[in-house]
Amino acid sequence: MKTKILEIKNLTKRFGGLTAVAGLDFEVREGEILGMIGPNGAGKSTTFNLIAGAYPASGGEVRFAGENILGLPPHRIAARGVLRTFQHNRPFSGMSVLENVLVGAHTQFRGGVFSAKAREEEAQRRRRAQELIEFVGLGELREADVGTLSFGQGRLLEIARALAGEPKLMLFDEPAAGLTPAELERLAGIIRGIAARGIAVLLIEHDMHFLLPLAHRVVVLNFGAKIADGLPDDIRANPAVTEAYLGSSHAAAR
């Protein structure tokens, strides 16, 4: 049984009078792809943001590699090995693809700017960045200005950039949104490849057709609480899950 790398215990977030996340418990293991689904407003994004350090929680713990990272600022969380992509691509617009990926490697640079090691480290990180760019399939676009990338390519850049931080846990925020079927295929392959390297993956996604075949396990949220946790097939068959989605679309129809 692979080790647990991320443990969420009793995670709670209140925004004024609204409880967005209520006592959430789940875990992710090394090399495992955990999918998180749920209707709109279920608390998926909030949970994601709490783990990524975007804002403080109202209660609970987020244990990463045994230590509580709740309350740490995003850059410290990244330094520990938790890297994320953004739902609406956020490239660094003034730089090339390669440079963008190199920013992702920021936490991996140990040497000072003026030190003797600096040049060698830079070369080493560049080689690694190139590998990652190839891995996601952007090989020829290494020197391209990020402004010229298509939406799908920008998504791949997000992934390569996050991977450059040598994550132990990758957080994907609705990566399938806006992609063509061919791009979705490639994305699924990339995510599998990432998990195969022993990296834990937490994948928030709306698109069940994309997620269920890909995830090893699935957690379902509704109204900020976990309503199901298990294998994709079990989730598919789970009546509470169908109810949650149908219930919410009923409400939307009214």
């Binding site: 890297l83 994320r84 730089m95 996050a162």
Partner: protein
């Protein structure tokens, strides 16, 4: 390294062949280039808008003069203390400002720049008030009086040193982090960049460099007075960097050289009102060619 040596020799030798007047213009131009390089790093590469650059130039200049001639501090110590003062003031400004949204730093530094001039004007015996301090000379260094073209060599050294530090930083992970903070601070943080610390370091470093330039400046005219360190020159520096091409060292050099020399060429036509031309050039740059003159050169080169 060879390139720097060659550049130094060429640039430092030039004043020996120039008359006094041209030497003076040359030196002032070099100083503006040094300032523009630093400001370009802060504004163009780190994306921080600040108007305090000339205030730090002034803090450096006044500090070294006051320490040397009013407090009789030996030269090396005066230099170190001057740098220290700049660093402290920069930290005092930068640390609270990093909590503020983008343009707030610009406003705080705008107020600081004005406040600095007010303090200088009201400083009485310490700062020499509105007339400033004059009639001092650089003490001899190891018995050698560094004057004239030899002092110009010192200024060349300053420019090359400034360039070297900034270029090195620019190419490193720190330079990349600065750009990332400029382009998208939230994504930068998600990648592990400590945004606040990066901004503080960039601001403090470039302000210290401006202070060092100020110390060198103090012995160019052997006089320091308040108007030089005010907002007008701060605006001009901004214009230089934008017109030259912000984010590129070459842009800073070109912008500084051009806008510094332009009044000399234009004065038969526009008299004192060369600032009007600068304003128009600045507008033209922002509206038509945000990459500045460097951008224009690049597109010409691409077409050839």
């Amino acid at each position: 390294m060879i390139r720097f040596l060659v550049a130094f020799i060429v640039l430092a030798a030039a004043p020996f062949f120039l008359g006094d007047y041209h030497n003076d213009v040359y030196r002032k131009m070099l100083l503006w280039i040094a300032l523009a390089l630093g400001y370009n790093f802060l504004f163009g590469i780190c994306g921080q808008v600040a108007f305090s650059h000339f205030a730090f130039y002034g803090i450096g200049a006044y500090s070294v003069v006051i320490l040397l001639f009013q407090l009789s501090v030996p030269l090396p110590l005066a230099i170190l203390l001057g740098i220290g003062i700049c660093v402290l003031v920069a930290l005092a400004v930068a640390i609270p400002s990093t909590r503020l949204e983008g343009f707030y730093l610009a406003l705080a530094t705008l107020a600081l720049a004005q406040l600095f001039v007010v303090i200088l004007n009201e400083g009485g015996a310490v700062t020499g008030g509105t007339g400033g301090i004059a009639n001092y000379r650089l003490p001899s260094i190891f018995g050698f009086q560094v004057r004239g073209p030899w002092y110009t060599a010192v200024i060349v050294l300053l420019v090359l040193f400034t360039y070297w530090i900034l270029a090195r930083l620019d190419r490193s992970w720190f330079g990349r982090a600065c750009r990332a903070v400029r382009d998208n601070p939230e994504a930068a943080a998600a990648m592990g960049v400590d945004v606040a610390r990066t901004k503080v370091i960039a601001f403090t470093l470039t302000s210290a460099l401006a202070g060092i330039a100020g110390m060198v400046y103090a012995f160019v005219d052997n006089t320091v007075n308040p108007p030089i360190f005010g907002l007008d020159n701060a605006f001009l520096l901004l214009f230089m960097v934008i017109v030259g091409g912000s984010g590129r060292h070459a842009g800073a050099v070109i912008g500084a050289a051009l806008l510094f020399l332009l009044p000399f060429w234009l004065s038969p036509i526009v008299g004192h009102h060369h600032v009007l031309v600068f304003g128009v050039l600045m507008l033209a740059a922002i509206l038509l060619q945000p990459q500045g003159l460097i951008g224009v050169f690049d597109s010409i080169r691409r077409k050839l």
